[in-house]
Symmetry: C2
Subunit: 345 residues, 2 copies
């Protein structure tokens, strides 16, 4: 009998609530013969306050053994900024070499927002996940004095850029529009920008059917707002991808619907799926959190593990559910129940 051995990191704030509904819908979507085994990991603010640990080596080792990881959200105002982000979330992405941070953007039906009703918005951001300004290579001297100097170093390698660019081209080639847009800032960050641009130009020769273009990140934000239908696959660095995908969520269905996968395409380490939104401590426990982004993340998870039909069923359930939303506020649990019912029905 087949089975999925899933690590679950509910995390902080609304993380546990949305993960509960994600697991509910995931379980409902699985074929009868497939067993879902979950192991919960107590990581995040509570653990840090209790033990001072963010991600102990032993936990990292145990996590390695699972087929995939479902994560809710990480971060809490009671913990100094960066401690959990760098020590847990980014540590996982780097340790498990999640070099493809996949973030699809679709304009779902019946959503509000400035661009609602534009059916042509359907693009995916392939954000590099293991390099760039996220490497943690910075420091400060004379800290706290008027003579302080603080640095942040963006590290970019041909190895790291090429593998994510290849992944993005393969995705573009498999989509109807077959278009790849590189977003960077190569008129200012000339060295990193040159490496990215050169790599895209070189790999493009192997994909004559894919059309490519280039946008500076500042101009890209304008096109996101004024002409989002021009995008198909976007490939970009870790920081630009972070910024653009929140903006993408804002212009489509909102951050409550944005799913993501931190993918290691080689399979050497488990991939990790999580909503793009944060832990939203202000609404934690109120039942106001929309679990849809987490549910859509479980669809990415299933697709990654080869359950394409089941992933599609979850996405169709979300589309159908959104189409019938009438503005009535529904609780986290109610939305989860409705989606689970649609998926299994």
């Amino acid at each position: 009998a087949r089975s999925i051995d899933l690590a679950v990191i509910p995390g902080d704030g609304i993380g546990p609530e949305v993960v509960e509904q994600g697991l509910r819908v995931l379980a409902a979507a699985l074929p009868a013969g497939v067993k879902l085994e979950t192991t919960e990991y107590d990581l995040g603010a509570r653990r840090w306050h209790a033990t001072g640990e963010t991600l102990p080596d032993a936990e990292l080792e145990r996590l390695k053994g699972h087929d995939a990881i479902l994560l809710g959200a990480i971060g809490d105002p009671s913990v100094p900024s960066g401690v959990l982000e760098r020590g847990l979330l980014l540590k996982l992405r780097f340790a498990f070499d999640h070099y493809v941070n996949l973030r699809p953007s679709k304009l779902f039906p019946n959503t509000t927002g400035p661009l609602a009703g534009n059916p042509e918005i359907d693009f995916v951001v392939v954000r590099e996940g293991t390099e760039g300004p996220y490497v943690g290579n910075g420091g400060s001297m004379r800290t706290g004095t008027p003579a302080e100097v603080a640095t942040e170093v963006s590290l970019n390698t041909a190895f790291g850029v090429e593998r994510v660019v290849r992944d993005a081209f393969a995705r573009a080639a498999a989509r109807p529009a077959k278009k790849l847009t590189l977003v960077h800032k190569n008129n200012v960050l000339v060295h990193a920008g040159h490496l990215w641009k050169n790599t895209v130009d070189r790999v493009a020769r192997e994909y004559p059917e894919v059309s490519t273009d280039y946008l500076h990140v500042d101009a890209a934000t304008i096109f996101f707002v004024t002409q989002p239908q021009r995008f198909d696959v976007i490939v970009t660095d870790n920081l630009f991808g972070d910024i653009l995908t929140d903006l993408a969520a804002a212009i489509t269905g909102g951050i409550g619907l944005a799913a993501s996968g931190n993918i290691n395409p080689t399979g050497a380490f488990p991939s990790m799926f999580e909503p793009v939104h944060g832990s939203a401590p202000d609404i934690a426990g109120t039942g106001k959190a929309d679990p849809t982004a987490t549910v859509l993340s479980t669809a990415l998870l299933l697709r990654h593990l080869g359950y394409e039909a089941e992933a599609g069923r979850i996405e169709q359930a979300v589309t159908a559910d959104l189409a019938e939303r009438d503005g009535t506020e529904r609780s986290t649990d109610t939305i989860g129940a409705a989606l689970a019912a649609r998926v299994s029905g």
Copy 2:
């Protein structure tokens, strides 16, 4: 008799066209007793192709002597990316220590775009202009090989951060809403982020009347789209400011209306005023460029030189002109003429 000794760098693409109209409106706004002297500098793509020069030392020296600089746009596809940006535009900003890159965002009447009709959008981005990832401190090794490594270093100093933060607080204190938002990414770029956050927290004690808050840059893009009226003064680093101000233009009247000032508040060097938009080579020479952003930049220029009433007259002329726009396309020249007539009438 008073006079303004202005350096003019028309630059590339639509630069010369919009600068012509900017000067026309500026001249119309000046009181009868004030003489406007302009000196044009031939800098940009043409010069580079002809001589290989971007900004020779002698030109930089001459530029120093003026009261202010009006710049159209820099950049052309015929020049490798970065050559003119780094060698001319950023060289000017750094050489003249333009540490306050001021970019106001207002929702003018009768503009289109996703948020049109929201009268409450009125914020200003104070973008740091001389540090951060813009310092040009990067490089690459084994360039062009599969073992290439490329770096970009963000340099941040207490000196540089504090002076721009102080400028932003002073601006916030002088505005009705008295609110300052720091935008950074201090959960990932912890060292630079810590310096920025600490500086804002410290200077805030001197401005008890100003309320402050903090947003990560990714979250800020969401609020720009969903709740732009929450912003008053935003202070941020060079790269985040670049990205956010293009987005700000997109959500308000469009990039055709976004003005900016590269300001040296000490007066040690001339400040430089320019539209936020680029050289738009695709429409250069067609008369399609909207000179309004340049005209609004001349208002910032006049305000900087102490001509507050004249600056206000230009801004009122733009507001009135926009209120009467009916969607008919008007040429660069027609718009300039209409604004000049309003300002002098």
